[in-house]
């Protein structure tokens, strides 16, 4: 691989562009492929196969060839509501797991850059904050404030936009009340039951990093179910 190609790969990765690396295993030539374009030179006759690898997000050697395809997909977007202590540990886990985190918190003293360096922190109420974030059914929401006036609008937004994972922190009682409010707001039982509440898998720990671990474990597990 040429240094130039390596630099181009890193640039594409940091700009969250989806691409593939094509390598000719016989002579070591490699090239970056962007979806929707035609592969160049020696790779051009494998255009259909490369496109298929890309669509199925797979890596591998094209059958009966010496061409290796490696696809790079966008990281999954995770929105955290509440720039609280647990969120700081979630950010740490998310870094090694390559989730892309955004944090929403209207409370300025929580949403400080000093508490969350290198993370997109939106110091606004959820309704306004969601106008700044592109979301779809591959987005996850983790609500951590257990304050209805902050969490509820975010949960409603996530349900309406069919996020693949929605979790909300709070005791069983807090969650019961939350479900009641969502039901009064017109959400169906199926929708309400899709919320993971109380959030996280049962690990038994009570400290902030332990709760963060239980949340991130549930998030990874749900990611592979869908």
């Amino acid at each position: 691989m040429k240094i130039k190609t390596l630099e181009e790969i890193l640039k594409k990765k940091s700009s969250k562009t989806e691409f593939a690396i094509l390598t000719n295993l016989e002579n070591g030539d490699s090239e970056i492929y962007l979806p929707g374009t035609s592969p160049k030179g020696e790779f051009s006759k494998y255009a259909d196969e490369i496109e298929n690898f890309f669509k199925s997000k797979k890596n591998g050697v094209i059958e009966n060839s010496e061409i290796f395809v490696e696809t790079y997909i966008k990281p999954i977007k995770v929105i955290i509501v509440g720039a609280v202590h647990i969120a700081q540990y979630l950010v740490d886990f998310a870094k090694s797991l390559n989730f892309e985190i955004s944090i929403i918190d209207p409370r300025g003293y929580f949403a400080s850059e000093q508490r969350f360096p290198d993370i997109k922190v939106i110091n606004k109420w959820p309704k306004e904050a969601f106008e700044e974030i592109e979301t779809n059914s591959s987005t996850a929401l983790i609500a951590l404030t257990h304050d209805p006036k902050i969490d509820d609008p975010a949960l409603q937004y996530a349900l309406k936009n069919k996020f693949y994972y929605i979790g909300a922190l709070g005791s069983k009682k807090t969650h019961e009340n939350r479900c009641q409010r969502l039901s009064e707001a017109g959400f169906t039982n199926n929708e309400i039951n899709s919320i993971h509440g109380p959030i996280g898998i049962k690990l038994g720990g009570k400290s902030a990093p332990e709760i963060a671990l239980s949340i991130i474990a549930q998030l990874v597990s749900e990611t592979y179910k869908k």
């Binding site: 390598t23 295993l25 591998g60 797991l97 990611t223």
Partner: protein, 109 residues
Amino acid sequence: MKNSFDEKILDEAKDWIKANQKVVLATVIQTWGSSPRQVGSRMIVNEKGDFSGSVSGGCVESAVVSECLSLIKDNKPCKKIEFKVSNESAWEVGLACGGEIAVYIEQIH
């Protein structure tokens, strides 16, 4: 659904090159049976034999390092190496897990 679990090996490769090291990139390109690391898993090796990342669960890394060192020494661009199941006789390089993998090594130049 799938997340792009990216181990930042290529980022590290860039740092090593910046520090004037010779870098060989090793990538798992094929697997058969039960193999510990999936296709696309990566490892980098420099001319001193330092390495980062992985292509197996520790089974074949030492062999990959020596292949990478030979690649630098012979100044060859790339090579494909296949590793099969290890047999019972100890210390032989192979995959104790019973899988087979193909690893592609290439110099970054």
